[in-house]
C-alpha cells in the first residue's frame, strides 16, 4: 500500500535534499521528539539561523517528516511500500535510505503514541488487597464478618485513579471464576480462528 503524498507535503519535504544527511538525521530526531513531547517552535528558529533559511521552511520540513512518519506507522506499510512511496519525491539514494531507517527505527514507538489517541476507557494498572474481619459496629457488637478490601488502580488519559472497594469471600470466589473463564475464552478454537484469519 503506497502513501499518498499531497503536493503541499511534497513541497515541504523538498527542503530535505538541500541540506546534508546529518541535518536530515537531526530533523528526524526532532520530529520524533516532537511526537513524544509536543512541538517546540524555538527549535525551528535556532535551526533556521544556523542554516540561513526562514524558520517557516525548517518548520515545514520537520512537519513534513512528522507526517510522513506517522502516516507510514499508522498504516504499518512494508519497507518496500515505504521505499516506493518516497521514490516519487526524487531524492538521492542516500536520503531514501536514511528516511527508511528513520521509519523502521521509530515505527513501534510512534504506533504506541498513536494508540493513545484512541477513545479511551480507564485501563487496569494494579490491584492491592487486604483481608479484614469486622468485629463490631455501633449497631451490633461481637461480630465476625470477614471481608476483602480491594484498591483498584486505573489509568485514564495519563491520570492515575484509585478506587477502594470491598467484597465478601463468596463474591470474591465468583469474581475469580468469572474472570478465569474470560481468560480461557482466548484459547478456544473460535478465537484462535479469528486471530489467525484476520491479519
Amino acid at each position: 500500500m503506497l502513501l499518498d503524498l499531497s503536493e503541499e507535503h511534497k513541497e515541504h519535504l523538498a527542503f530535505l535534499p538541500q541540506v546534508d544527511s546529518a541535518v536530515v538525521a537531526e530533523f528526524g530526531r526532532i520530529a520524533v521528539e516532537f511526537l513524544r513531547r509536543g512541538s517546540n517552535p524555538k527549535v525551528y528558529e535556532g535551526a533556521a539561523r544556523k542554516l540561513s533559511v526562514s524558520s517557516d521552511t525548517v518548520q515545514h520540513g520537520v512537519e513534513g517528516l512528522i507526517y510522513l512518519l506517522t502516516e507510514s506507522s499508522k498504516l504499518m506499510i512494508s519497507e518496500l511500500d515505504f521505499q516506493d512511496s518516497v521514490f516519487v519525491l526524487g531524492f538521492s539514494e542516500e536520503l531514501n535510505k536514511l528516511l527508511l531507517q528513520l521509519y523502521l527505527d521509530n515505527r513501534k514507538e510512534i504506533r504506541t503514541i498513536l494508540s493513545e489517541l484512541a477513545p479511551d476507557l480507564p485501563s487496569y494498572h494494579n490491584l492491592e488487597w487486604r483481608l479484614d474481619v469486622q468485629l463490631a459496629s455501633r449497631s451490633l457488637r461481637q461480630q465476625i464478618k470477614p471481608a476483602v478490601t480491594i484498591k483498584l488502580h486505573l489509568n485514564q488519559n495519563g491520570d492515575h485513579n484509585t478506587k477502594v472497594l470491598q467484597t465478601d469471600p463468596a463474591t470474591l470466589l465468583h469474581l475469580v471464576q468469572q474472570l478465569e473463564q474470560a481468560l480461557e475464552e482466548m484459547k478456544t478454537n473460535h478465537c484462535r480462528r479469528v486471530v489467525r484469519n484476520i491479519k
Binding site: 474481619v133 449497631s139 476483602v148 477502594v164 472497594l165 465478601d168 481468560l183
Partner: protein, 218 residues
Amino acid sequence: MELSEYVQKGFQMLADPGSFDSNAFTLLLRAAFQSLLDAQADEAVLDHPDLKHIDPVVLKHCHAAAATYILEAGKHRVDKSTLSSYLEDCKFDRERIDLFCTEYQNNKNSLEILLGSISRSLPHITDVSWRLEYQIKTNQLHKMYRPAYLVTLNVENTDSGSYPEISFSCNMEQLQDLVGKLKDAEENQERHRGLWELAVLARARRRTLPFESVTHRF
C-alpha cells in the same frame, strides 16, 4: 446497657397486669417485634381490637419502650439469663418473662441480621461482567490485531443506595495479573477461614456460661 427513664417507665407499665392483661401484653410484644423486623409494618400494627381499650398514649409509650429494649438487647447480644434478670427487676411475672424470652429467641437471628446490616461501608462489589474483543483498527492506527478485555464491576453503595459501575479495559497480561492477585486474596481468605470458624465456636461456647453484667462483655 443503659436505658432511659422513659424506656424504663414504659417497660414497667408493660409488667403491670392492671394496665396490660396477658392477651394485650402478648399482642403488644409481638407488635414490637413486627415493627422492627417486618419491612411492611406501619402504625397499623397497634390497631388490634384487643388493644382498643388501652389509652393510645400509653400504648405508644410501651410499644416504643419494648422496641427500644429489644434493639439494645440485640445490639449487645444478651443471653437468656441477662434478659430474665432485667425483666425480673422490672417486676414482670414469670409467665411474661418466659413469653418475652421465647419471642426474643424466635426473632434473634432476624434481629441480628437487621442490626448487622446497618453500618457504613465501602462500596461493595456484587458482580462482574466481561467482554472480549479483537481490535482491528482505529482512525489513528491501522492493523492493530490484538485482543482486549472490557471488565465491568457491579458495585453497591449501601450508604447512598446507588449502584455505580466501574468499567475498565485491559489486555491479556493485565487480566492475568488481576486474576492472579484476586486468587491470592481468595487463597489467603480460605486459609484463615478456619480461624474465623474457631472464633465463632468460641463465642458460642462462651454464651452458655453465666455472666455478671452485659457491660462487661467484650
